[in-house]
């Protein structure tokens, strides 16, 4: 007993002060949104970055570099393919959007989460979510789970993951939605009383990610459920997920 108190003292107080204080520090090699430093320097008709992208997230149109953050794996394959070394990845972690089209970059960042009145009334002070992994690789799941640890302490925002869909205000879905999970996902959704939200976390859930085009998976959650919030990343940093949830509930970025 004394020992556990001693260890407790040594562990100290560890909950981040964010969002009132500074955000937890991102690693110096963190890879955020890719962009082209100077499309004017691109060799004529060069499409190497577009071709190198494993998820076809890049579109070169009218000499501009556009990237779909909903499909992007933030893997830097585009940067590695650029013969002129023009592609940079910034340190942006605020990636969420409530509208799929708003995930295209460049964009006015962070994309304002459209706080529709319905979401706001459901989720403003208390948001209970049921998590469903539908083909997720356990990375998005793990970094969602981490938000409930004492360092992030999601509970202080009134947000909680619950065991039963009957107790939930919505679903947080990870994974591209495998054929084998479709039915279970729909049944879980049907068990959530309305009004209800859907949050898609990670490239797979947003767009199918690296599995897009597979016959064994769908191309993300929006193929079968109305999505209220998209959180990109492979997997998203916990800070990205938290930022999305706080925007959705109007706690930041109002």
């Amino acid at each position: 007993m004394l020992r556990s108190l001693l260890v407790r003292m040594k562990q100290g107080y560890r909950t981040f002060s964010y969002p009132h204080g500074p955000a937890p520090e991102l690693p110096d090699r963190y890879r955020g949104v890719p962009s082209c430093a100077d499309p004017g320097q691109c060799p004529p008709a060069c499409r190497l970055c577009e071709q190198a992208c494993p998820t076809h997230a890049i579109r070169i149109a009218d000499g501009a570099f556009n990237v779909d953050l909903g499909a992007c794996l933030f893997c830097a394959a585009c940067a590695g393919a650029c013969p002129k070394n023009l592609i940079r990845q910034d340190r942006e972690y605020r990636l969420s959007a409530s509208c799929r089209e708003d995930l295209w970059s460049p964009r006015p960042r962070p994309a304002a989460v459209v706080l529709n009145r319905r979401v706001y009334h459901v989720a403003r002070r208390s948001l209970r979510l049921r998590q469903v992994s539908a083909g997720g690789c356990n990375a998005c799941e793990a970094d969602t789970n981490v938000l409930s640890t004492l360092a992030w302490d999601l509970g202080r925002f009134g947000i909680q993951f619950v065991a039963s869909p009957r107790h939930a205000d919505g679903l947080l879905v990870t994974g591209p939605v495998t054929e084998n999970m479709k039915e279970a996902l729909l049944e879980t959704w049907n068990a959530v009383p309305g009004p209800r939200l859907v949050i898609a976390v990670g490239a797979c859930a947003v767009s199918g990610g690296v599995f897009s085009g597979h016959r064994e998976t769908a191309g993300g959650v929006s193929e079968m459920l109305p999505v209220d919030l998209y959180i990109p990343g492979c997997p998203p940093h916990p800070l990205t997920i938290l930022d999305g949830l706080l925007r959705l509930t109007g706690r930041i970025g109002k």
Binding site: R3, S4, V7, R8, K10, Q11, R14, P27, D28, R29, Y30, R31, A52, P54, L73, F74, C75, A76, R130, Q131, S133, A134, G135, G136, C137, N138, A139, C140, E141, A142, D143, N145, V146, S148, T149, L150, A151, F161, A163, S164, P165, G175, P176, T178, E179, N180, M181, E183, A184, G209, V210, F211, H214, R215, E216, T217, C234, P235, H237, P238
Partner: protein
């Protein structure tokens, strides 16, 4: 004629033409003689030859010599199943039947494994049923309480006592093995990183080994050392998280709370190396993408020592709290013989007294020179699985510090030459759950014609089912967490 191939070293490569092709009966004899000689079964796979005809490929692992033996056979449409004699092949033969319709006659339970393109879904069909007065079934999943992947558990119980547990998976099937055919291409490394996302380093290391063997190149020493640092960090993060979760499952909140944060601290060390907490983008065929410069090594060492100290404190509380130990001890035991028969791997096997550890038996890269000490326990229960993980944490930390102290000079990444044609290659890594095995075959253009992934979970899920026998159903979460197996690594 030899009944097995010449030994392949690890990572190893052999021309497909040099692999002996034997009758199914001869393969059965080989299985018997090899296991008699103390060798282990790596896997049994259905592969397509150049004429799209399915063949059996058996991979044996010789732990004493650190080598692999392979052998091929043409099973035809049906053959007498190996499973009755070698229970650990039961899932491999089910997979064979699912993929190619080959019937292993006499297989006791020939259900699909992954439900690829099938009208049926996991969780459907028949379940093994125990009959008798007061016997009832409990169905759990695929969607569970908590943030966890999907799977279906069907318990046959008498009162609270579990008589039999059948685990039905396949919900996470994303078609990775099929999508790897024709590669390597720009998606291949991402399939490896997401085969089991919590084992990104483990699977991408095994894949890199396959590619390097096929390209005939050595991993640069410094690159191999950085891989080993990342692999041990992955082990530390997951062991820490799981020990915390085990404490949480018996309602002991101090360790549970502390470990939840500490796991993140270790993941952040991986992010310090490559920018991503799970090691995405770090491992490449030919080496690693990110260097650990001297100043970074110093930061890593300092932060790792702090985390290690705090983890030891937090985890140590478990063994100082009799009420926690009372719940762990005797819960979910897997006897040594069962572990051996089922071919369990990793900490689950070592907790039952087996000594399998790929870092020791089949070392590659940095593990050839030095490795963390081997940890085993005897009891095979939750307490044993927890103690193996506790001790592995300490040894992994010491090993990482030794590696960072003595990083070799030189390059971290080497260009990968075109892959050899018509060859078979094997790469392995000891992930935090146990032995990861990758087997690739190339066609006459040097592209993958077959790629097989064996996540340790594929071998260990049945161990969990056996651990539950004669246990209380309320102990299932605790037993489950003591294995903490991958759903997506199994379903691929």
């Amino acid at each position: 004629m030899n009944t097995v191939s010449a030994p392949l070293q690890h990572p190893g490569v052999i021309a497909i033409a040099d692999i002996p092709v034997v009758s199914v009966e001869k393969m059965r004899e080989t299985l018997a003689s090899e296991t008699e000689a103390g060798n282990r079964i790596g896997g049994l796979f259905g592969i397509l030859d150049e004429k799209e005809k399915p063949r059996l490929l058996l991979v044996m692992m010789a732990d004493r010599t650190g080598s692999f033996h392979v052998i091929l056979s043409d099973p035809g449409e049906a053959y007498p199943a190996f499973t009755p004699d070698f229970p650990q092949l039961h899932l491999f033969e089910r997979q064979l039947h699912e993929d190619f319709g080959i019937v292993p006659g006499g297989h006791p339970w020939l259900k699909p494994v992954r439900y690829t393109g099938s009208a049926d879904r996991p969780g459907g069909g028949n379940f093994y049923t125990v009959q008798g007065e007061e016997v009832h079934q409990v169905a759990v999943g695929p969607v569970h309480a908590g943030i966890i992947e999907p799977g279906h558990f069907r318990f046959n119980c008498r009162g609270e006592e579990v008589l039999h547990l059948e685990i039905a998976l396949g919900y996470q099937h994303r078609g990775i093995q099929g999508a790897l055919v024709g590669g390597p291409d720009k998606r291949t490394i991402h399939y490896m990183e997401t085969a089991a996302g919590d084992t990104t380093i483990g699977h991408s290391t095994a894949y890199a080994g396959v590619c390097e063997a096929l390209a005939g190149i050595e991993t640069p020493a410094r690159g191999a050392e950085i891989r080993a640092v990342a692999l041990e960090l992955e082990r530390m993060a997951n062991h820490t998280g799981d020990l915390g979760a085990l404490a949480g499952d018996v309602g002991y909140l101090p360790t549970s709370s502390f470990c939840g944060r500490l796991r993140g601290d270790v993941l952040n060390l991986t992010a310090l190396i490559c920018g991503n907490r799970f090691g995405r983008g770090l491992i490449l065929p030919g080496g690693v993408a990110w260097n650990i410069e001297e100043s970074r090594a110093d930061t890593l060492k300092t932060r790792l020592k702090t985390a290690g100290r705090e983890i030891a404190d937090a985890v140590g509380l478990i063994w100082r709290t009799p009420s926690v130990l009372a719940r762990f001890e005797g819960c979910g035991p897997v006897p040594r013989e069962t572990a051996e028969d089922l071919g369990l791997v990793g900490p689950a096997a070592r907790a039952s007294g087996l000594s399998g550890d790929t870092r020791h038996s089949h070392p590659a890269g940095a593990y050839k020179k030095d490795r963390p000490a081997l940890v085993t326990a005897e009891a095979g229960d939750v307490a044993a699985r927890a103690s193996v993980r506790r001790d592995e944490l300490v040894h992994s930390e010491e090993f990482i510090l030794r590696l960072l102290e003595n990083l070799s000079a030189g390059e971290i990444l080497r260009p990968v030459s075109p892959l050899k044609r018509n060859c078979l290659a094997i790469g392995a890594a000891e992930g935090w759950r146990g032995e990861i095995l990758h087997v690739a075959l190339t066609d006459n253009a040097g592209r993958f014609s077959n790629y097989r992934i064996v996540d340790p979970s594929f071998k260990n899920w049945t161990g969990l089912a056996m651990a539950l026998r004669k246990q209380e159903i309320s102990d299932f979460p605790l037993c489950n967490k003591s294995f903490n197996l991958s759903y997506c690594g199994h379903d691929l």
